[in-house]
C-alpha cells in the first residue's frame, strides 16, 4: 500500500489518552492547573459564543422569519405569522425559483465536470517543471486574486453585444449577457476561468508533497505516466481530492457576485443566492419571503454538508 508510511507515522505516537485515563479523577485535576482550566474554558467558550451568535442564531432567526410577512420596518411585535404561505408562494407562483434551482445545479455540474478536472490537469502539467512553468502558474492564478465582481466587469468588456471584444473580433451578433439561453454559459466560462486557477494551485501544492520515491518505484515497475498518476499519485492525494471536492461544492453554492454584477440575477441568471438578495436587501425588503428562500438554500447546503461530514467521519473511524 502506497499510503502505509503515513498511517504508521500516526500510530508511532502512543495515544496520550492511555496515561491519563488510568489515573482517575484526582490525578486529572492535578494535571490541569488553574490557568489551564481558565484557558480551556475560554478556548471553548469564546468560539462557542461566536458560532452561536454569528451562525446559529441568525440561521434560526431566518427560519423563524420565513414564517412571517415582515417587511423589515417597524417594531417586532407587529410581525404577523403567515405559516407556510411564503414557501407555497415560492414553489407555486414565483417564476424565477425553478430556473434558480436548475442554474445552481448546472453551476455545480459544470464546475465539477469541466473546471475542476481541467484545473487538476493543469496542475499535473505544471508539476512537470516545464520551461516557463512559473509564468503559466502566475498567469493561471491571477484571476483568483480578483474579486468575482471585478471579473464580471472584465468579462463585460468581452461580452458586450454592441461594444464587446468577442463580437468585434468574430463579427458575430450574439447577445452574450442578454440572451437567456446563452448568458448562463457565458457567466460560467467567466467563473470557471477563476475556478480553474484556484483548483490548480490547491492541487499543485498537493502534488509537490508527493514522495518522489513513489513515482520512481512505479517507473521501475514499468507503469506508464497516466497509469502512475491514476493508480499511485491520485490515491495518495486523497485528502487534497476531498478538499478540492468541497471547494467546488462551496463555490457553486455561494455563486452570487458574478451574476449580481451582470444583471442582478435576472433573465436567465437566476441563482438562489441572488433571489434571496433581491428580496431581502435594498428596496424590496420582503424579509419573510426572502427568508423562506434562504431557508431553502440552507437545507440544500445542509445536504452537501451532511454528506461531506459523514464521509470525513467514516474515514476517521477507519
Amino acid at each position: 500500500m502506497s499510503d502505509l508510511p503515513l498511517i504508521q507515522a500516526d500510530r508511532a505516537v502512543p495515544p496520550p489518552a492511555s496515561t491519563t485515563s488510568t489515573g482517575g479523577r484526582r490525578r486529572r485535576l492535578r494535571l490541569l492547573s488553574r490557568t489551564d482550566r481558565v484557558v480551556i474554558t475560554l478556548m471553548v467558550l469564546v468560539p462557542l459564543l461566536l458560532v452561536t451568535g454569528f451562525v446559529w442564531l441568525p440561521a434560526a432567526a431566518t427560519v423563524l422569519l420565513s414564517g412571517t410577512n415582515w417587511d423589515g420596518i417597524g417594531p417586532l411585535n407587529e410581525i404577523e405569522f403567515v405559516g407556510a404561505r411564503n414557501y407555497s408562494d415560492v414553489v407555486t407562483i414565483y417564476p424565477p425559483f425553478v430556473p434558480a434551482i436548475q442554474h445552481n445545479l448546472l453551476w455545480l455540474a459544470s464546475l465539477f465536470v469541466v473546471a475542476t478536472p481541467f484545473g487538476m490537469f493543469l496542475a499535473v502539467l505544471l508539476d512537470k517543471e516545464l520551461r516557463g512553468s512559473r509564468f503559466y502558474q502566475t498567469a493561471l492564478y491571477l484571476p483568483v486574486v480578483l474579486s468575482l465582481a471585478l471579473i464580471g466587469f472584465v468579462w463585460q468588456l468581452l461580452y458586450s453585444r454592441d461594444q464587446g471584444l468577442i463580437n468585434a473580433v468574430f463579427g458575430s451578433n450574439v447577445d452574450w449577457y442578454g440572451d437567456s439561453n446563452v448568458n448562463i454559459w457565458a457567466v460560467m466560462v467567466a467563473s470557471g476561468w477563476r475556478h480553474v486557477g484556484y483548483i490548480m494551485l490547491l492541487y499543485l501544492a498537493g502534488l509537490k508533497g508527493v514522495d518522489p520515491s513513489l513515482r520512481e518505484a512505479a517507473a521501475v515497475d514499468g507503469a506508464s505516466e497516466s497509469r502512475t498518476f491514476f493508480r499511485v499519485v491520485f490515491p495518495v492525494l486523497r485528502p487534497i481530492n476531498i478538499i478540492v471536492l468541497v471547494v467546488t461544492v462551496i463555490e457553486s453554492l455561494r455563486a452570487f457576485d458574478l451574476v449580481w454584477v451582470v444583471n442582478k440575477g435576472r433573465n436567465g441568471l437566476e441563482l438562489i443566492s441572488a433571489l434571496v438578495t433581491q428580496n431581502v436587501v435594498g428596496e424590496a425588503s420582503r424579509i419573510g419571503f426572502g427568508s423562506a428562500l434562504a431557508t431553502i438554500m440552507l437545507v440544500v447546503s445542509l445536504v452537501f454538508i451532511t454528506i461531506y461530514l459523514a464521509t470525513v467521519m467514516r474515514e476517521n473511524r477507519e
Binding site: 410577512n69 417564476p95 453585444r161 454592441d162 449577457y177 442578454g178 442582478k264 435576472r266 433573465n267 435594498g282
Partner: protein, 305 residues
C-alpha cells in the same frame, strides 16, 4: 405645511398628495421622460415629430428603411422597460388607471393591461433587438452615434452626449394613442424630502422642510446638477439650457405627473415581480395571458395589507 410653500403647480401638489388627501412630500428636483432624438439626423432626413401612434409607427418604419434602428432600447438593468410600460399605459388607459393599477386596485389580468402589452408587441419590431444585454448608456450611445433614430428615456440621457452635442438633442412627448385620453400625462419622477412620522424635534424639522421647499434651496440644487429641473417655479432658471427649458415647459403643461412605475407601486412588487415579468415579455412577447396572470397571482400575495 404646504400652505407656507409657494411656486408649485397643481400637478406637483397632486403628486405630493397621499391617498388620504394630505400632502406628504416637499418636491425638490425632477426630470421628465420623453422621446429624445438628434435634430441634425431628423433635419437631414426630413422627419416630422409624430403626434399619433400611427404617425409614430410610420416614422419608425421609415427609419428602418433608411437603415436606422428606430427606437434605441435597453433593459439589462430591468427598470428602463418600466418607462415604456408606463407611457403606453398612461396613453391607453390614462393617469387614474395607472394610479389604481399601481396601488393594486386594478387587476393585471384586465383587458386594459393586455391592451398595453398588445400595443407594445406592435412596437417591439421597431425597438433595438437584444435589449436584455444592453445598458441604457449603450443604448444612448447608439442614439449619440446616429445609429438609432429616437430613444424613450429620462432627461439624464444627455449625460451620454458631449457638451457641444447638447444643443443637437431634442425631444417630444410620447404621441397620443387614444384621443379621449390625449398626450398630456407623463412620467417625471420627482425627488424631494419627507419628514419621519415622529421626529424628535418637530418644529425645526418643519422649518428645514420649508427651507428645502423654498426658492433659495432650489437655486442651489440647480447649480449642483444641471441634468435635472427644479420643482419650485420661483427659482432662478436663467441658467437652463434650451433642452431644460423645453422639458420644464413640457412638465408645466402636463395635466398629471406620474412618478415612474417603481415609485408609484410597492417597491417590493416592482423589483421582484415587474422587472422579471417585463424582461420575460421582451424575451417572449407571445404569452401575454400567462404573463399577466403570473403577475396578478404574485400581486395578490404581496398586496395583503
Amino acid at each position: 405645511m404646504w400652505g407656507k410653500l409657494s411656486g408649485y403647480s397643481d400637478a406637483f401638489k397632486k403628486a405630493s398628495t397621499g391617498d388620504d388627501g394630505k400632502q406628504y412630500f416637499v418636491p425638490a428636483t425632477y426630470y421628465p421622460w420623453a422621446v429624445f432624438y438628434r435634430k441634425s439626423v431628423w433635419q437631414q432626413r426630413g422627419y416630422q415629430v409624430p403626434t399619433t401612434l400611427d404617425q409614430f409607427t410610420a416614422l419608425g418604419a421609415q427609419m428602418k428603411k433608411d437603415g436606422l434602428t428606430p427606437i434605441a432600447f435597453a433593459d439589462k438593468d430591468g427598470w428602463p422597460a418600466m418607462g415604456t410600460f408606463d407611457i403606453l399605459n398612461l396613453r391607453i388607459n390614462g393617469y387614474q388607471f395607472h394610479v389604481d393599477l399601481m396601488a393594486g386596485k386594478e387587476a393585471w389580468t384586465s383587458d386594459k393591461v393586455k391592451k398595453v402589452f398588445d400595443t407594445w408587441v406592435g412596437l417591439l419590431p421597431l425597438h433595438q433587438p437584444d435589449s436584455l444585454g444592453r445598458t441604457w448608456q449603450e443604448a444612448a450611445q447608439s442614439l449619440q452615434q446616429k445609429k438609432s433614430g429616437m430613444y424613450l428615456l429620462g432627461l439624464f440621457v444627455g449625460q451620454q452626449f458631449s457638451n457641444d452635442e447638447q444643443d443637437d438633442l431634442d425631444f417630444f412627448t410620447f404621441p397620443e394613442i387614444d384621443p379621449a385620453i390625449g398626450a398630456k400625462a407623463l412620467d417625471a419622477p420627482i425627488d424631494g424630502y419627507m419628514m419621519a412620522r415622529k421626529p424628535k424635534n418637530e418644529d425645526n424639522a418643519r422649518k428645514l422642510l420649508e427651507y428645502f421647499g423654498g426658492k433659495a434651496a432650489a437655486d442651489i440644487n440647480l447649480k449642483n446638477d444641471p441634468a435635472v429641473l427644479v420643482a419650485n417655479s420661483g427659482a432662478d432658471v436663467g441658467g437652463y439650457t434650451a433642452l431644460q427649458k423645453k422639458a420644464a415647459e413640457l412638465v408645466g403643461s402636463a395635466t398629471e405627473i406620474a412618478q415612474f412605475l417603481d415609485r408609484d407601486t410597492r417597491p417590493d412588487f416592482a423589483s421582484t415581480v415587474i422587472i422579471p415579468a417585463l424582461q420575460q415579455f421582451i424575451k417572449d412577447p407571445k404569452d401575454i395571458g400567462g404573463l399577466t396572470s403570473s403577475i396578478e397571482n404574485q400581486k395578490k400575495s404581496i398586496f395583503t395589507d
